[in-house]
Structure formats: C-alpha cells, structure tokens
Amino acid sequence: MTSTRPPSRTISEQELAAMLNAFAGTALPLAEPRPTTARRNWTSRYAAAFAIASAAVAAFLLFGLPGLHGGKGTIGSASAATNVRELHAFKHAVRPRAQNALPASVSEVINLMATRLGTHPSNIQEPIIGAPSIYLVSLGSTHLCMIVALHGATAFCRDSLRQAEGSLQASRSIVDGKMFITGLAADNVKTITVTTANTPSTQGSTIQARIVNNVFVARLPYTGGGSGATTITVTRTDGTTGTLELHGLPEPIGAHP
C-alpha cells in the first residue's frame, strides 16, 4: 500500500464546533434510555464476590481454618440471592406480546439490551398496563429485563435478586421526568411498602407498591428536592419481612440551599 501524506491539517475552533454540533444528536434510538448493562451486573458480581471473600478472611482471622483445632469455623451465611430463572414470570408468559406490537421505544430498548447481552428476546410480557407501562422480557436463559415505558423507555436487566435476602432487586428510575421505584420481586413476596424519609420541605410518605407478576412499581412523591433515603419493606407470604434502604444521590456541587 503506497500513499502520500496529506498536507498538515490545522484545527480551528469553528471546525471543532461544527464537528460537535454534527455529533451532539448522535444517540441511541431512544432519547434517554437507561439500560442496566452487563457491565453493571459484572460490577455487582464483583461486589458480591468481594463481600464473600471479605467474610471468609474475617472468619479465618476469628476462627482459624475449620478442622485445624476442632472448631466449626463457620463463615456466616452469604447473602441470599434468587436466580431470576426461578421466578414465575421467567417460566410463564402471562400476557405475551409480539415484539412488533410494542411501542417503538420499547422495541428499540429490547433490541439494544439483546445486542449488549448477546442473546435474543423471548417471552415478552406486559403485566402492568397504565402509566408507566412495564414490560418483562426474558433474554436468553439468564436475564429477566424490566422495561419501564412512558414516551421514552428505560430497561433494567437482572440475572438474580440480591436485595432484602434475595426477595427483590429495586432501582430508582426516571422516565419522562417522573421518578419511580421499580424492580423485580420474588414469587413469595406479598407486599412491598416504600417509605420516603422526611425532608426539610416535605413530610415523608408511605406508599404501597403495585406488584404484578414479579414486577413492582411505585411512583415517588414530590420530595421538594429532598434526596433522602427510601426504605423498602418486603412482606413475604410466610409472614417474614425484609427491608432495603436506597440512599439518595450525592448532593450536587453548588446546589442552592
């Protein structure tokens, strides 16, 4: 391959500005999707592995190796997790939908997640109809994706439920400017209660989330700018309860009090 080097190229601010203007609109098909990526799942796996390893080291320091001096040397129970494949929604299509019958934004985000996870969607379900519409999609044999859609859509893909002793996996999401607590719940979850903390300007509130077919959703109330903790309480069919706390986002720098 022979070639001649082109003349030295200079970059003016105008040229740079033109390029930025040309590419500012280059996006994914949705305006603001928020796919929970495989990378995030890896992050949580690393976090779980690190927690288990830390527990093992702590137990070793406390009890020594099991069998060395006759002690039992338990390392405590690792945090329980429920594989999404065990969920009813994964095994049974309750309200199956064809992908071509879905809104464009939902269809696009399903394709996006399928591409990123390297698999194909199956078992598309629409368990909750209303605002927001929530779709459940099984991706391959490992992930269950929940898509929260108003005009835009947001997707969360999970391979397991790790919160509240494996009873749920919750996320705060924002779709079209509205905030929701959404997530997947295990089959034995009876009720989910979301409690928002008091803020300087508003009182906290307690809301019961809607649970349909392993999916739960609650719209967060107006908080007057408060971003305090949100507590989720799970009641299971056997009467036991579990709690989970979702903390507020970090205070933005330069926020006006």
Binding site: M1, S3, R5, P6, S8, R9, T10, I11, S12, E13, L16, A17, A18, L20, N21, F23, A24, G25, T26, A27, L28, P29, A31, E32, P33, R34, T37, R39, E108, N111, L112, T115, R116, T154, R172, I174, G177, M179, S201, T202, Q203, S205, T206, I207, Q208, P221, Y222, T223, G224, G225, S227, G248, L249, P250, E251, P252, I253, G254, A255, H256
Partner: protein, 189 residues
C-alpha cells in the same frame, strides 16, 4: 397497614409543575453535553446522561434562582460526564476511537476523522471544548463549571486543538484496516 401518601398542597403542585417544566427545558442541554464528553453514540454516554438527568431532577427543586438553572445543569452534566469518561478510559471498556456509527450517516471523511481524534482526548480536554464550543459558555462560565481558572480553560482549549492537530497529522495514511464493531454500542440514529 399502609398509609396513603401525603396529598401535596396547591403550592407544592405549582412548584412541582414549574420544576418539571424547567427540567424538560434543560434535558436536551444535559443529554447532549454528556454525550459529547463521554462519546456520542455509546450506550455508556446514554447511561451517563440518564445519571446526570436523575441528579438534576433531584436537585432542581432546591434551586432558588431559575435563571441560574442552565449553568447549574451544565455543571452537573459536566461532572457526571467527566467522571464517567475517566472511569471508562481506565477500564478501557469502550474503544472510543473505533465506532461503527461514525460511518453510518454519510458524513464527510474529515469530520469523521476529527470526531475519532476528539474521542481520544482526555475527558477534561473534551469537556472544555464542549463547554466552550458547543454549549457556548464564556471562559469564566467554563472555568466555573470545571472548577478551574480562566487561564486553565484557555490552555486546555489550546492543548485540545494541538493534540487534535498532531493526531490528525501523525496518523497512518490510507489505513485499510476495517473498523471493528463496538459490542457496547447500540443502534444509532
């Protein structure tokens, strides 16, 4: 068992409506700023844009002076974008300089080369260029958004142009290596 949510007062409704309207106005600015700094066309950029929007939505009600909202939004967007771009560079998860989407829209070759070179700049240099040349902030406003001096803004913009020039002039000519597909990239528009 479960209490009803507290019903908001009329004043709260009006405030919420005003905040939602302001949020809608600021949304394109935030999304596009984050996109350009992180790397337009990548899902990571869209993720970061969503993170910035969430942060902005939660903090907007505390903003007393609404005329300060654009600068406030840009500051949040820049901080989230630079943080994300630095993290992604460290992890090298995204091949910033190899994006299939660049060749999808019949864009001029020189523009594509410039975009590829721009994505190789450090996040800080990218943020400076985006704030000055795309968002249109003054040097003082850019310095405020980036928490640095005006002199630093000037030097960083100069450095960005110098590195772009060097990259574009030093690259191999007539490289026939095909662009690889970025597995992290979603579909593009």
């Amino acid at each position: 068992m479960v209490t009803k949510p507290n019903r908001p007062t009329g004043g709260q409704d009006a405030r919420e409506l005003a905040v939602e309207r302001l949020f809608d106005e600021l949304r394109p600015l935030v999304v596009r700023t984050v996109r350009l700094v992180v790397g337009a066309g990548s899902t990571v950029a869209e993720d970061a844009a969503q993170e910035a929007l969430l942060e902005l939505r939660l903090s907007l009600p505390r903003l007393r002076e609404h005329q300060a909202a654009p600068a406030f939004a840009v500051k949040i967007a820049t901080r989230v974008a630079v943080r994300t771009a630095r993290r992604e560079r460290r992890r090298a998860l995204i091949p910033f300089h190899r994006r299939e989407y660049l060749h999808e829209a019949n864009r001029p070759q020189e523009l594509l080369e410039l975009k590829e070179a721009f994505d190789r700049l450090t996040p800080r240099l990218r943020a400076t260029a985006v704030l000055r040349l795309y968002v249109g902030l003054s040097e003082a406003e850019t310095a405020d958004a980036l928490d640095c001096s005006i002199g630093t803004v000037k030097s960083q913009l100069h450095e960005a142009r110098r590195r772009l020039r060097r990259q574009l002039n030093d690259r191999p000519v007539a490289d026939s290596t095909p662009l690889s597909t970025d597995p992290e990239r979603g579909a593009s528009v």
